[in-house]
Symmetry: C2
Subunit: 226 residues, 2 copies
DNA sequence: CGTATACAAATTGTATACATTATTTTCTAC
DNA sequence: GTAGAAAATAATGTATACAATTTGTATACG
């Protein structure tokens, strides 16, 4: 494995929760596992920290970025705005080669759904949306957007129930929405894209909010939307 | 200078254009200048790359993040949305200690204006807005917001004319708006904050757009809001 | 029995030497 | 004299050794 592959491998393991949120990333073990010295491994960890996959505290090493309760609140608060903005820009700025690549990724996503591998599903879905971020071609929005995608992948993985019929149907709906998105991007239709993104988000959000109880005390307290 | 100080020093030099966009950052020279070895210096450069201050290309070293024409277009397209979102959140989430710190920073900004040092002005204005980003306390929005602030500082510095009477007046207006913002944050008034941010942005934008021609072709094309 | 302190182990941080990749210069062929 | 290739130079990338910091453990003391 060269440096780039190690980098991608760690990303994938974090996205698929093979490396759990908060898990310690020991430099010595990792460098031994990947057969490189600590120096380049440290640089990889620092690059991952810059993208939000990892948190580093001075003299206390690197840990997989945690998923606290606050993270979930902020996630639901922030995602719709950024997803819409990225979607609109993607429709305006996507290049033909990128659209081809998106079709290829979508095909892989479809395969993963048919194959029933939830890990692959989460990964190729993530690749689909990451590619949309590339299409948007806005260097200011991307770092935030990509961070949202990291946690979106991890949250989905956490709550996914492959045996649940309802959830299977929702997954197929999401797959179909992806196809419509590709069409909207190809047509350069920004408004259509925003509508699709909102729809897509609501599907995802309803699924997640079913499992996420933002406040465990809600049962004992009056139900107030703060 | 310890590692953190070197890190901060490089940030400051990039923000104030002492290190120009695109300038090469040679590892050997820098490590010698700061009296540390190349290993920790490389880590600093990689951390700066993660925040958008620096761009690193494999085997070709680090350069100060460039300021292309496209960057300017994207900047004007993206800033209003993120600035408003951050402003609203800051009003909702600011903690008393942060408000105190903001007052201190604002005092320094006022001093810089009175002292006439454009470098200090840009720096303390940047600190003011960066602090607002901290107050907002949203880990997803911050990386994008901070990147916008980097280029905002650099663009301002590029076009600032300290002798221009009109520009001096606008600077004083901006200073006053900062005071109103502190009041809005203290009152927890998110909507008031958004209004102030929009006003503040328009002041800044008008100033910059006077110098920046985002699209030389616009003159020949019909004026369309795409 | 709980707490504090001193020592030991483990982990991260830094410096230096060496390897690899880019770039520049120089030489040769045409 | 120019173009191309080869060598020299200079840069970045990696490995290893050592230093500093943190964490864990044992023991002494209240």
């Amino acid at each position: 494995m060269d440096k780039q592959e190690i980098y991608d491998d760690l990303k994938k393991r974090i996205l698929t929760l093979q490396l759990e949120p908060g898990a310690a990333l020991d430099e010595a073990s990792l460098s031994q596992a990947y057969s490189i010295s600590r120096t380049p491994l440290r640089e990889i960890l620092r690059a991952l920290a810059g993208e939000g996959y990892v948190e580093i505290v001075s003299n206390r090493g690197a840990h997989v970025a945690p998923m606290s309760h606050k993270v979930l609140r902020d996630f639901f608060q922030t995602a719709p705005m950024l997803y819409s903005a990225i979607g609109r820009l993607a429709a305006h700025n996507a290049r033909p080669a990128q659209i081809d690549e998106m079709r290829a990724v979508q095909a892989r996503f479809r395969q993963a759904i048919e194959g029933g591998s939830s890990e692959d599903m989460v990964y190729w879905n993530q690749r689909f949306h990451a590619l949309m971020g590339e299409m948007a071609d806005n260097p200011y929005l991307r770092p935030s957007y990509d961070r949202l995608l990291i946690d979106h992948a991890r949250i989905s993985q956490t709550f996914y129930r492959p045996r649940d019929k309802d959830m299977q149907q929702r997954t197929l709906d999401a797959l179909a929405q992806h196809d419509y998105m590709i069409a909207a991007i190809e047509a350069g239709d920004g408004q259509r894209m925003v509508d699709l993104i909102v729809e897509h988000w609501e599907l995802s959000r309803d699924l997640l909010e079913y499992f996420v109880k933002p406040d465990p005390l809600a049962f004992e307290l009056p139900a107030v939307n703060s």
